[in-house]
Amino acid sequence: MTPKKKAKAITKGSAKKTRPRKRAAGAGRSSSSTDYKASWKAASDSSRSDAARIKDFGKLTNAICDDRAVLNGMIGVLRDVKTSLDVRLAALAALQAASFATIRFRPCRPPYFAALRALATDPEPEMRNRVLGLLMREQDSLAQKLLLDGLKKPDKALVPPEKALQLLSYDVKASAYPIARRIVEQPPSSDAKAEALRLLAADAKSVGIFEQRLLDKKESPEIRQISAAALQALAPEKLQQYARDIVMDTTESPAVQATSLTALAQFGKEEDLSKDEVLSKRVERIQSSDAAQQIKQSAKQFATKYIEK
């Protein structure tokens, strides 16, 4: 397809609707028709450079809601796998930005989401990433099924396991927990393990998993910090006790100690902590030591709240 023909094909089928639609009651003022028509003509001209077209897409956010031809044309660019990925992503960004004008975008939602669903299996990994994210943020059941299927059968996965777990956390369902637990036990990567733990942090039955990871000094600081944050929400009293123990333990990781001190400073019980002289002395020692800046900063937060008061 020649560039000119392709541009024509994109707007085909919507030519009769190129007149700006009448402004809906209560909708914000539409874009200037002369400005946006020139921008749309330029943006849909596939003979121009990608950079120039991308710049023009940025000017069309309002026009998408005002003119069905622009909406359809933009969706056409988005779905056209022969168009460069950068240009397609710019079209996606413009559609997304337009979707923020809820009332004006309302008639555009059905074709927009139909296009997104069709793009969930796009050949471009980056397009799949973004589209599955958009769909999951709308709690789309098709996207959820595709992501779960990919975790169960990695050869069919549309995105890496860590990304799938991250996206599933937009609409946490108990059906995802068994897979997440399996990944924590047998992680394909450290990122996947971290995302599986984040997802399980919504599960009150996973307290034991987080206790185990937090107290295991062989775990990475990141995994232990995620576990601390999860425990602070799921079992705050347990975390507060563990956090104190970790701060008192001079053999502990400074990063995990800093997280523990932050948890105590931010969420601890003032009546208990302000009377805890042993802990206060330990915090003062950290402050005056040559420890890493991060833990000294946490110690300062704690001291400001509970010692210097």
Partner: protein, 409 residues
């Protein structure tokens, strides 16, 4: 001799927060020891300092404004009114770092600490300002169990038509930010919402110590001493945000501030900013912030909208669009009018508590938080109440916030 000073018409120290807009004050004699005659002359001035908040004084709300003010106080204790404005360019750096000194001759008879509390560029906050903001915000969230849940639930797909795609977009978000800011100030009164100037690089904002840095899949990482590491919304910990621009060297994929301010001299044209830069700023990322229903799960969302509000404030000042009676200050779309919630006399959801019919099924959060330093816009704000935020048209309409680069005087 003793005197008593009231700031924002209140003797309560919690009311001692001023902005660039005039605050009504008064002073009176409370102990006449040493006073000879019917009146005593005093001078009001700032405590000399090279940093921190300072004010200018005037007998009237309209000025003229000066660094000192001489007043004659009746011996019998009658209050003498005067006004102060924050001295532009001299906002406070910490709570009560500003002091009004009342002098009789060379003797300081009263020193009243207060704060010139101003919304600032997030990229230029001091580490202490940044840390206070984060600590208060994390406490408001309280791992998903705090008051923040109401703010998260106000900005969802269900409530979206109250706030997006129609002329009430800017007024609604102004009230929303103010409500959140007042809740933060209930935790730490020195905190204001900072703004993310999204058309410029903000290397001090996108750091582990502030709003975090995304890993390769867009899970945001925080430093171990950053309370945001405990951030939790919708039962899930953390923040997802993947930037599609270099956060250290570039702004987001938006039109410039100058281009935004040139969108039109009437509200009708200016409100096009809801698309670009507003929408484009949101979609310069993947993750929570890039969809309406999840955007409020990311703390950065509030800094983004603070800049949207600041742009409106700048545009209002540039074009003198503060008066709801002025057609160009709002898009009333007459005679048809706008959707409910988007007309000047309409009360705004959820603060009005209205549900069902044309409103969303629930109204989270109750009425808008009150402030001792500025009573406006009241518990159930109308769209029109958001326009005169500095009290230019009606002094009592002042909402108690200002931006570091938007003057009053």
């Amino acid at each position: 001799m003793d005197v008593a000073l009231r700031i924002n018409n209140s003797a309560d120290p919690r009311a001692r927060y001023v902005t660039w807009a005039p605050s009504r004050c008064s002073i009176r004699v409370t102990n006449t020891t040493g006073i000879i005659g019917l009146n005593v002359g005093v001078e009001l001035r700032n405590r000399p300092s090279t940093a921190g908040g300072q004010v200018l004084f005037s007998r009237n709300a309209t000025g003229p404004w000066s660094a000192t003010l001489n007043l004659s106080l009746p011996r019998i204790g009658t209050s003498v009114p005067f006004f102060v404005v924050g001295r532009f360019g001299r906002p406070s750096l910490a709570d009560r770092d500003a002091v009004i000194q009342v002098r009789r001759g060379t003797t300081i008879v009263l020193a009243t600490p207060f704060m010139v509390r101003i919304r600032k560029d997030a990229n230029a906050l001091t580490p202490a300002e940044r840390d206070r903001f984060i600590a208060a915000f994390a406490q408001l969230n309280n791992q998903g169990a705090g008051r923040f849940v109401d703010f998260r639930n106000m900005h969802t797909n269900a409530g979206s038509p109250e706030a997006h795609g129609a002329p009430g977009f800017l007024p609604w978000h102004r009230a929303y930010l103010l409500d959140l800011e007042r809740e933060l100030q209930a935790i730490d009164p020195s905190v204001t919402l900072p703004y993310w100037r999204f058309d410029r690089p903000a290397p001090n904002l996108f750091t582990l110590d502030f709003v975090g840095v995304a890993n390769n899949i867009g899970t945001v990482q925080f430093s171990a001493n950053n309370p945001f590491q405990f951030w939790r919304t919708d039962g899930v910990p953390g923040v997802n945000r993947r930037p599609f621009f270099n956060t250290l060297t570039a702004g987001a994929n938006v039109i410039t501030e100058a281009a935004t301010l040139a969108l039109g001299t009437t509200y009708d044209g200016f409100q096009g900013m809801e698309g670009n830069p507003h929408g484009n700023a949101h979609t310069s990322f993947g993750g929570f912030i890039s969809s309406i229903g999840t955007a409020a799960r990311d703390p950065l969302f509030f800094l983004l909208h603070c800049n949207v509000d600041r742009l409106w404030a700048r545009w209002q000042r540039q074009n003198n669009r503060f008066d709801a009676a002025q057609a160009a200050a709002f898009d009333s779309n007459l005679p048809a009018g706008n959707r409910i919630g988007h007309n000047l006399p309409d009360t705004m959801w959820p603060w009005n508590g209205l549900t069902g019919a044309q409103r969303p099924p629930t109204a989270p959060g109750g009425s808008l938080a009150m402030s001792l330093s500025a009573p406006a816009p009241g518990p159930q704000p109308r769209v029109r109440d958001s326009l005169d935020y500095q009290g230019r048209v009606t002094q009592s309409a002042r909402m108690g916030f200002d931006y570091d680069d938007v003057r009053f005087v």
